[in-house]
């Protein structure tokens, strides 16, 4: 043996180690790949050896190869082997390799759970550390669930080195296993005040990361963070906290007010730029949140802007960059303060650094006004010319368009100028943004009616010079512009000066080289132009010219008919036939122009981008319903060729739809309008846009002042500049005029999206050159106003949106360390638990659904098992205080044990802190008594959120002053709360939770409240309701929970509960008690109060229902007297109460049914008229079943008895008839369960 080891280590000397590998690769520069493949072969050999050192060396080399891009996942198992080495040296190599190449899809991760757990609890802190580091990289939901508890324990490790790692990794655990957040949070919070700065910093880090995504849940921590901020000297921590405050202030403006002062102090005092910068950022966030309420923070804004200016002027490019970045945040709310630094920002546009130029561009977006838009755009156009490198130029282009089109063209006073800018932009070579320019052209031409004439003229020139745009194949992106040009010329052809020329331009042979969708538009719009030309000629009775036009089309269109593009071909051949027909008519001297134009009549309105989405679904329309029943599978095979065709067609449509079919849409719209006009029920839209257009006062707007002799330029010559001059002149002229007249014309509001008073005041004087009639976009009637579709449903942080202030419920706890989380032993009784049902054993196999079910199961089960588990592990200590060990357990103790962080205390703390004087320590002292008062009523927490928040601080203050009257009032209030709470308990909690567990709730209508508690006995003093539940741990025990409610005005005490045992069922009594002794109920009941006690019964056979007689004796104590009272009852143990909700997966379920061990029986229920999901929910809830699978109106369900009998149901429903086919390995049990089922449904 020893020899073997020595031999192994000598062998090892001659293995390649990492350095040799690296050296080898460097020496084989020419045939690197070949060399590496031989190395991989060697590694494979090494991995086969038993010597762990050899393996580790091989794995180390693999890690290096992984960096070079080689997939090493094939060695995952070997990596796990190395990870589990007992030596730190090798372990570290293994974990490093794992962290580099394991991910959620790596299946061997499953095998690591126990190894990691072992390492986490290793006495060597570096073993633990290495495991934590590795785990942080490859934690999966399974690992997170299984190890959460171990990691939480490590958060209180003696070594700060481990503590800080454990704290940090918790964030990853939360992400993968959100249920762990609430149980772990109190301890995490504790770590904020850890003596070790590293641990503290880690805790701050984690909470900041959590709070960034769901800030509202962390507001209550604000006082604590505030304290940290004022006390900490660690810049890293300070930065994180200040960033966190930046995220919190938008939610709580009062917090902002509190922050301003310390932040301002920090800004003045700190020497660290990073800290200064974050302070400025947060102050900005505060100011944004305050912008509506508090106007007099101008000093702070000034301070920020001034500091930022210093940053921007700094020679350090990093500071310059960040300064601009922060500036853009101020811009949103305080544009004026930024606008004064326009010079600086324009200067940054010339910076050599692209990042900085881009930032400056962002800023420009917010700095434009009506006054300076033209000037700024001119400057940008200069940059466009200078810019080399298409990315930056494209960025400039989009920015120019963004700037101009922002808030519905708010800042454009002269649309002619804008159109010329767009035309100039078409000169850009190789831009990707042709479609952007095109859509702008279309948008402007459609929505600004006054500009159409000009736009059409420009577009005609563009079309005429199309060869300039398309000449170079590299400029392909820009030819999209022709699409817009052709459409505009066609649609608004009445504005064309020489439609004939344009028509000719559109039918040039060169057009056939354009992309298909553009050609299609050309063809369609040529037809429109044709109509216009005809009309013109017929108006002049120039039939010769008209016929020539027809001939032109007939000559040119065949080119398009031959097009390979379907759309082009179809349109062209249609139009060609049409024109031929027209020609025939023309030859007979028939006037056709009117009819031809009628083809294209109709006005087009823009539709809002979201309009389609917002069309409400009419009542009674089921979009998922089949129109025709789908053909059966065998048929569909025969029809395959058809299906292929049908499939292809919509594809075609889609590609055209968005672009080409505008005309088509217009036509359809026209048809619809006609229909609507004839439909008396359709309310016609008021033609408001037209009205504005015709409104009096339009004439006064100096349209004429623009000399429209502005020549139609040949593209290629910048012409937008002259508008700048013109605009200046115009403005001056206007000013002068206005001074003369001293008449103020009120500008009317135009267009919905325009804010009349958003710009600086001076801007109000600028009247636009054209009447800009921006047509508002159409929306469907009854459009649904909300659209919350911005949120990404896949964001893992959504699951972490958890209220952390609510006290922990008993059901919330981390799965405790066991072999299989489902099998929770009860050490109190020291029993070997029976094995879980076969189907749950293989739960480790994928599928989230399964996990969820498991969790739910755990949660539910833990309710019962709490008391048994409680001694189990450390978590409990945190969650629950110690409780009496006797089997009887009262609800009272449980509730009292809830952690003292009740909502009310927290909320009032925060309110108080925020509203109090800005001296933080004092504020915190004061809150102590208030929280003490609150916790005295600890039984109330659940009903707390109902209370209006505002009353809280008042309450606490008054209690502080100890005014008796108010105190009394408060007590009364608490009593009320208590009542409410108990009501809540039966219905809300028990009913709601269970029904959700069974997964039947979905999105269907809400279930009626259900309760499993049935009345046991009742008299004038007391009412008892009970519920019986079994658990898997113990095949012969069930727990009876009884709620005692005091109905009298007297005090009930010395309650004693006793039953007459039968042979089969016995009440469990404490040791030493006789078989007929009663059990004392461990509480007393004040008037009107109810409480729950639990009693354990042992049962032998569970196949038959049982009834046990019993008595409750108690003393009724009123002011003057006390009497003994007695209440008899009968405890009914139904067979159902021996069943336990157990999830089952469909495959296991199928196997179970196939096995043939089960005997069947069935049941028919008539006249059930409740929705199917209600029916299922009832079965689940009252009879402890779970749904395995549900298909339409058929569901399979499963349950399991405490003694392991499987009960399967197949529930089908049709027309008020429910048929239940059941199978079970114990026929008599099945019969009884079915009887009980029948009874349940006969009751309703």
């Amino acid at each position: 043996m020893a020899l073997k080891i020595v031999k192994g280590s000598i062998d090892r000397m001659f293995d390649k180690n990492l350095q040799d590998l690296v050296r080898g690769i460097r020496n084989h520069k020419e045939d690197e790949a070949k060399y590496i493949s031989t190395c991989i072969d060697e590694i494979k050999q090494e991995l086969k050896q038993d010597n762990i050192a050899v393996k580790a060396n091989a794995v180390c080399k693999l890690t290096y190869l992984q960096m070079l891009g080689y997939d090493v996942s094939w060695a995952a198992f070997n990596i796990v082997e190395v990870m589990s080495s007992s030596k730190f040296t090798f372990k570290r190599i293994g974990y490093l390799a794992a962290s580099q190449c394991f991910h959620e899809g790596t299946d061997v991760i499953m095998l690591t759970t126990n190894q990691i757990r072992k390492d986490l609890s290793s006495p060597n802190q570096y073993d633990t550390g290495v495991a934590l580091t590795g785990l942080s990289c490859f934690v999966t939901p399974d690992l997170a669930r299984d190890l959460a508890n171990d990691i939480m324990t490590l958060m209180s490790h003696t070594k700060p080195y481990i503590r800080k790692k454990a704290v940090l990794i918790m964030y990853k655990v939360f992400l993968k296993y959100p249920e762990s957040l609430r149980p772990a949070f109190p301890r995490l919070k504790e770590k904020l005040e850890d003596p070790d700065p590293g641990v503290q910093s880690a805790a701050v880090n984690v909470i900041c990361e959590l709070a960034r995504r769901n800030p509202k849940n962390y507001l209550s921590l604000a006082p604590l963070f505030f304290k940290l901020m004022t006390s900490s000297t660690n810049n890293w921590v300070l930065i994180k906290i200040i960033k966190l405050f930046g995220a919190l202030t938008p939610l709580e403006p009062r917090l902002g007010k509190k922050l301003i002062e310390p932040l301002t102090n920090l800004i003045h005092s700190t020497s660290a730029m990073s800290l200064l910068y974050e302070c400025v950022n947060t102050v900005i966030a505060v100011l944004i949140s305050l912008s509506s309420g508090m106007p007099n923070h101008s000093a702070s804004i000034q301070l920020c802007v001034q500091k930022l200016r210093i940053l921007i002027e700094d020679s350090d490019q990093n500071l310059k960059y960040l300064g601009l970045l922060a500036m853009s945040k101020i811009l949103k709310t305080h544009p004026k303060s930024v606008q004064s630094h326009k010079d600086l920002i324009l200067q940054c546009l010339d910076d050599k650094d692209e990042s900085i130029r881009l930032r400056a561009l962002d800023l420009l977006y917010g700095m434009v006004s009506k006054k300076n838009l033209m000037e700024i755009v001119k400057k940008l156009m200069l940059h466009v010319d200078k810019a080399e490198g298409t990315t930056y130029r494209d960025e400039l282009l989009t920015k120019i368009i963004d700037i101009c089109s922002q808030s519905n063209y708010q800042y454009i006073t002269n649309f002619e100028w804008y159109i010329s800018i767009l035309v100039e932009l078409t000169r850009l070579e190789g831009t990707r943004h042709g479609h952007l320019i095109a859509s702008q052209m279309l948008d402007v031409a459609i929505r600004v009616k006054a500009i159409r004439g000009f736009a059409v003229a420009q577009m005609a020139t563009l079309l005429d010079n199309a060869h300039l745009l398309t000449g170079n194949t590299q400029r392909n992106g820009i030819c999209e512009v022709l699409y817009a040009a052709a459409w505009i010329c066609g649609e608004f052809s009445e504005h064309l000066e020489d439609p004939m020329q344009t028509l000719e331009a559109m039918l040039r042979p060169k057009v056939a080289t354009l992309p298909g969708h553009i050609q299609a538009v050309y063809v369609q719009n040529a037809a429109k132009l044709f109509a216009t030309v005809l009309q013109k000629h017929e108006g002049e009775t120039d039939s010769q010219a008209a016929q020539e036009t027809s001939q032109l089309l007939i000559d040119r269109l065949p080119l398009f008919v031959q097009s390979a593009n379907l759309e082009v071909q179809e349109r062209a051949s249609c139009i060609l036939q049409l024109v031929k027909y027209i020609q025939k008519l023309q030859q007979k001297n028939v006037e056709v122009a009117e009819e031809v134009t009628a083809l294209f009549a109709g006005e087009l309105n823009p539709v809002a981008p979201k309009a389609q989405k917002k069309v409400p679904i009419p009542e009674g329309l089921d979009l998922d319903a089949w129109i025709n029943e789908p053909p059966s599978e065998s048929e569909s095979e025969d029809e395959k060729p058809k299906a292929v065709f049908a499939k292809e067609e919509p594809k075609h449509y889609r590609s055209r739809n968005t672009e080409v079919d505008e005309k088509e849409l217009a036509r359809r719209r026209e048809v619809r309008k006609q229909e609507q006009a004839n439909n008396p029920f359709y309310i016609k839209a008021s033609p408001s846009s037209q009205k504005v257009y015709d409104a009096p006062g339009v004439e006064h707007i100096p349209v004429v002042q623009i000399d429209l002799s502005v020549p139609l330029k040949v593209p290629g010559m910048p012409m937008s500049d002259q508008y700048l001059k013109l605009e200046e002149e115009r403005q001056q002229k206007e000013k002068a005029e206005r001074k003369k007249k001293e008449k103020k014309k009120k500008r009317e509001k135009r267009g919905k999206g325009r804010k009349a008073d958003s710009g600086p005041e001076s801007e109000e004087d600028i009247t636009p050159a054209q009447h800009v009639d921006i047509v508002t976009e159409e929306m469907p009637e009854n459009a649904l106003p909300s659209d919350d579709d911005d949120k990404d449903p896949n964001d893992p942080h959504r699951a972490l949106d958890i209220d952390l202030d609510k006290p922990l419920a008993d059901s919330e706890k981390l799965p405790v360390r066991t072999h299989r989380p489902e099998v929770l032993k009860s050490p109190a009784e020291d029993r070997v638990s029976e094995s879980v049902p076969p189907e749950t054993k293989k739960k480790s196999s994928k599928e989230k659904k399964e996990k969820k079910k498991d969790k739910e199961k755990d949660r539910k089960r833990s309710k019962e098992e709490k008391k048994k588990k409680k001694k189990h592990k450390e978590v409990e200590e945190e969650l629950l205080e110690s409780q009496p060990e006797e089997p009887v357990q009262s609800e009272e103790t449980k509730e009292a044990a809830a952690p003292p962080t009740s909502t009310s205390a927290e909320a009032s703390d925060l309110d108080f802190w925020l509203s109090s004087a800005p001296v933080p320590p004092a504020a915190q002292e004061v809150t102590v008594p208030s929280s003490a008062v609150e916790t005295s009523s600890a039984a109330v927490p659940e009903s707390e959120p109902d209370e209006p928040k505002d009353t809280e601080p008042e309450d606490t203050k008054s209690s502080k002053h100890k005014k008796k009257k108010q105190k009394k009032e408060k007590e009364e209030k608490e009593k009320k709360k208590k009542k409410r709470h108990h009501h809540h308990h039966h219905h809300g909690e028990a009913g709601g939770e269970d029904s959700v567990q069974n997964g039947t709730v979905e999105e269907e209508e809400p279930l009626p409240p259900m309760s499993n508690y049935s009345v046991l006995a009742e008299n004038s003093f007391i009412k008892m309701v009970y519920d019986i539940q079994g658990n898997h741990q113990d095949e012969s025990k069930v727990v009876v929970s009884i709620i005692f409610e005091n109905k009298s005005d007297s005090f009930l005490k010395s309650m004693e509960f006793n039953v007459l045992d039968s042979l089969n069922s016995k009440l469990q009594r404490p040791e030493g008690a006789g078989p007929h002794d009663g059990l004392t109920v461990p509480f007393q009941l004040p008037p009107g109060v109810s409480n729950e006690a639990r009693f354990v019964f042992s049962v032998q056979s569970i196949v038959m229902p049982q009834k046990l007689k019993g008595t409750l004796t108690f003393i009724v104590k009123s002011d003057e007297s006390s009497t003994h009272e007695k209440l008899d009852f009968k405890l009914h143990f139904t067979c159902t109460s021996y069943l336990i909700t157990t999830p089952c997966y469909s495959d296991a379920y199928a196997k179970l049914l196939e096995s043939g061990d089960l005997k069947g029986s069935s049941l028919r229920l008539e006249g059930i008229n409740m929705p199917f999901h209600h029916l299922l929910a009832r079965i689940c809830f009252h009879h402890h079943f779970s749904v395995v699978e549900r298909i339409d109106s058929c569901a399979s369900m499963y349950s399991r008895s405490i003694q392991g009998h499987h009960v399967c149901l197949l529930v089908k429903t049709s027309d008020q008839t429910v048929s239940i086919d059941a199978k079970c390995d114990e026929p008599s049990l099945l019969g009884n369960v079915l009887d009980e089922l029948k009874q349940t449904f006969s009751k309703c």
Binding site: M13, R26, L96, K164, R212, N235, M273, S274, S355
Partner: protein, 192 residues
Amino acid sequence: MIKAILIFNNHGKPRLIRFYQYFAEDMQQQIIRETFHLVSKRDDNVCNFLEGGSLIGGSDYKLIYRHYATLYFVFCVDSSESELGILDLIQVFVETLDKCFENVCELDLIFHMDKVHYILQEVVMGGMVLETNMNEIVAQVELQNRMEKSEGGLSGAPARAVSAVKNMNLPEIPRNINIGDINIKVPSLSPF
């Protein structure tokens, strides 16, 4: 959160890659290439922040990098990290390397990628900053190295000897190419 840490040289050869989010190997290489392409064309006197990088991140992410002589240290971070803070962190990391390797140069990173990883693990864990205090980092790294040595004991001795012999004839390793002036600091940043 830090999404990735990349170290590559002036020719784009990776010296250390550490992704805190899963990417397949070929994607990782593509990211390295893209990042190198973005970073390498920038002058030394422009700012150290870079937006974009279509493969990694998105609008919320930034590349923050530093260039030391022959090596680029690139961190891809989201908006929860302070830009200047990360710049400082890179500095801390490089200074730590300098201490641990005694005058670090690119060759140290080439031949001891594993050790660089171990050092990085003490600075950043799972994408979150673990420790910013250089002395603490160095102390922990050294303690772990000492432990490794003690574990090696006798059985490790022959291997160490061989490796020492192998390293002896390494004329091609010029020790003097160090990583360059690591004392470039962001002005007026106080150390953490």
